[in-house]
């Protein structure tokens, strides 16, 4: 995603490594070293697992109908759902990745987190309650409300599965590496453990268990992060000015140290060249590298925007993908069916926005705290490579030890693991419903599936997704997959969102327009990402600057293409079916506004 802009700046590899995973996924990038077994973390994690499995047992006894399985019976309150949405959205990497970005680049981290937040109000105004009034279990219910069931549901299920698969792989690989780093557990065991637990939660406890896992995780993460931010502020006497001043000083000292090092290296190189020593060219190269690092460090101003938004087109494109991608993520949209009515749906987003915004302010403070409390403490530094042990992504984790000792380090490590579990459980449930509710019940059985069969298909799919996720997680261990979550957001914004949005707001939308336009958005997002720098240069290893598509984020192009194609195909569609579909808009609109005929909560 932002790899390109950073590389252009010539920032150190360390920085690039820290920013890639802020895409809320693969928290740790590249090879990592295994640490010694961290017993505090392991014990606390097992307490979490035991507790959530207990909840799954409780939820399993309350999950009988399809509505229970997909939507927790529609009985979740707005406040609970707000917490669960926040739990679904605040992934391990937005915690570790954004605090790492603040740690490295300061203000840029704040810009990034703002992008992740501002989509939420737009979801409230335009999507949440209409979705609740029209749909039952999946966003395909809404998209296909008055359109051809088979084509539109097949398309929506494809969009869902692609987004879920990309997100899931990124989470699995991130989980494996993170657990290796935090717990000292083997990569493969970690991936298998995550896979098994997510299948248990979803298969037996359905949406009810998934929701509670997300709520508990959100509470743990928010409390842990609050404590850390409090300790950081306490250290600077509860003055932001002092906190910033201390961090700026640390950064300046580091830059001066690097400049001194570069000066020494250049003297060595000059001497080597003068005496015509055999290692002269190596000495010159290392002096150049040292000078480059020192210049980059001197340029970083942590109190002002840096290189994150150097190119307006990329900036706007990233903004579009973050904002409208959020409104097209199937596992987030699905959460709106768990509440009883439009009013609770509205409240859910209000609470979610509050929790997520609060969380991003905390990560900002945590990042600055890590500069003063972690970067200055040799205990956390890697003498060989420079920088933090385990990379910048470990800034928040090291800070937890600095402010709370081994016990709190264990707590934060366990919370990071719990976070991954909560996110993958939500993704799996969403993928399973796309298969059972959209493909099996609506497309294959033409809406005549028996409920017990539908649930059975859903559970089998959950198991299948678990196996596939474990397999792909192991397969992709050594791959650079930083682009995957970026791609998931771009597809959600370019394929799912335009179809969902137009189906609710535009009378003229027809089946043909929705399917063709949506596919154009999906395909163009995938192709442009592959041709862009993130995959073409970083993953496929082509030389820098050779990518046929110059921008890191395609959303501005692929979203426009999807909207224009959908519009064009729809207005030129004069089929009899298209006329009928347009006529059906009015009743749909009335239901979306008033909720007449909408799904209520189930009795128990």
């Amino acid at each position: 995603m932002m790899r390109k802009s950073l590389h252009t700046l010539g920032a150190a590899a360390l920085l690039a490594c820290a920013t890639a995973p802020t895409w809320a996924a693969g928290a740790i990038d590249g090879a990592v070293a295994k640490r010694d077994l961290n017993w505090h973390a392991i014990i606390m994690f097992f307490i979490f697992v035991a507790f959530t499995l207990g909840i799954t047992y409780w939820a399993a006894r309350r999950t009988r109908s399809a509505k229970d399985f997909y939507a927790a019976g529609g009985g979740i309150t707005g406040f609970q759902n707000g917490l669960a949405i926040a739990g679904d959205y605040m992934s391990a990497a937005s915690f570790l990745g954004i605090s790492a970005m603040v740690f490295d680049k300061g203000y840029d981290g704040l810009i990034y987190s703002i992008g992740f937040l501002v989509g939420w109000p737009v979801i409230t105004f335009l999507v949440a309650e209409r979705l609740r009034n029209l749909g039952k279990y999946t966003f395909a219910d809404v998209a296909s409300y008055r359109l051809g069931q088979t084509p539109v549901r097949s398309f929506a299920a494809t969009g869902t599965l692609v987004v879920v698969a990309l997100y899931l792989i990124a989470q699995m690989v991130g989980a494996g590496k993170l657990i290796q780093l935090l717990f000292g557990m083997d990569y493969t065991y970690a991936v298998v453990l995550v896979g098994i637990l997510m299948v248990l939660y979803v298969m037996f406890g359905g949406m009810l268990a998934t929701t509670w896992v997300q709520i508990i995780k959100a509470i743990l993460l928010l409390s842990g992060a609050s404590f850390m931010a409090f300790m950081v502020l306490k250290h600077s006497g509860f003055s932001f000015e002092t906190m910033f001043a201390q961090a700026v000083e640390v950064k300046q000292q580091a830059a001066q140290a690097l400049a001194a090092k570069a000066a020494v290296a250049s003297e060595v190189a000059a001497a080597a060249v003068a005496s015509n020593a055999p290692n002269a060219s190596a000495a010159v190269a290392s002096a150049e590298a040292a000078a480059k690092t020192a210049t980059a460090a001197a340029k970083v101003n942590i109190m002002a925007p840096g290189g994150l938004v150097s190119n307006p087109i990329d900036a706007i494109s990233l903004g579009l993908a973050l904002m409208f991608g959020t409104a097209g993520l199937p596992h987030i949209l699905m959460r709106f069916f768990t509440v009883k009515d439009a009013k609770e749906a509205r409240k859910s987003v209000f609470y979610a926005t509050g929790f997520i915004g609060y969380f991003y302010i905390l990560t900002f403070i945590i990042g600055f705290g890590a500069i003063t409390l972690v970067a200055t403490n040799p205990e956390f530094l890697d003498p060989a490579k420079g920088g933090l042990i385990g990379g910048s992504n470990m800034a928040a984790v090291h800070l937890s030890k600095a402010v709370g000792g081994d016990f709190f380090l264990g707590f934060i490590s366990a919370v990071a693991f719990a976070t991954i579990l909560a996110v993958v459980a939500g993704l799996t449930l969403s993928g399973a419903s796309a298969v059972s509710h959209d493909l099996y019940a609506s497309v294959i059985k033409k809406g005549k599936a028996n409920e017990a069969d539908e649930i059975r298909v859903s559970k089998m799919t959950t198991l299948g997704l678990g196996v596939v996720a474990i397999f792909l997680g192991i397969l992709f261990e050594k791959q650079n997959i930083a682009f995957m979550v970026g791609l998931a957001f771009s597809i959600a914004a370019s394929a799912n969102f335009p179809v969902l949005f137009l189906s609710m707001f535009w009378k003229g939308l027809t089946t043909r327009g929705a399917v063709i336009g949506g596919l154009f958005g999906l395909i163009s997002a995938v192709v442009l990402i592959i041709l862009g720098p993130a995959v073409w240069e970083v993953t496929l290893g082509n030389p820098k600057g050779s990518a046929p598509f110059a921008y890191s984020n395609p959303a501005i192009f692929s979203m426009t293409l999807a909207f224009v194609t959908t519009w064009l195909v729809s207005i030129t569609d004069n089929s009899e079916q298209a006329q009928k579909e347009r006529a059906l808009f009015l009743p749909q609109f009335i239901r979306s506004m008033t909720g007449i005929g909408a799904e209520g909560a189930s009795k128990h």
Binding site: Y107, L110, I111, S113, I114, G115, L117, V118, W120, P121, V122, T124, F125, L126, E129, F240, E241, F244, A245, V248, N301, M303, A304, P305, G306, L308, V309, S310, N311, P312, A315, I316, G319, M323, K343, R346, K347, V349, F350, T353, G354, G357, Y360, I361, F364, L586, P587, I590, R591, M593, T594, G595, I596, G597
Partner: protein, 103 residues
């Protein structure tokens, strides 16, 4: 939904009022949010130094910090304003429309 019901609701002036008020209000707030966010992005893209200006002479804290925090708060406040009005005024109108349609 049968045609008579659709016709009855559509011709109810309260329904038109609901559509007009709720639609207008939600689009207005959505645009406010978009303007705030893209205004911020454009300042960063074209004039990053603006946000790097110290708050007062000699302070380390820059203008960008309160601006960033205010944007985060604005997202929460705008969502709250909408939820408040929708949960009272719009929901009351909706209830009236639904009840009148049943008669």
């Amino acid at each position: 939904m049968d045609e008579a019901l659709v016709e009855r609701i559509q011709s109810n002036p309260k329904f038109r009022e609901l559509v007009h008020k709720k639609g207008g209000f939600s689009w207005m707030l959505a645009i406010v949010m978009l303007v705030i966010y893209y205004g911020f992005i454009l300042v960063i893209a074209f004039s990053p130094a603006t946000l790097g200006t110290p708050l007062s002479a000699g302070s380390v804290t820059t203008v960008g910090i309160p601006v960033g925090i205010l944007i985060i708060l604005s997202a929460f406040v705008i969502t709250g304003i909408y939820a408040r009005r929708a949960n009272s005024e719009f929901d009351r109108l909706t209830r009236e429309v639904v009840e009148e349609a049943k008669q």
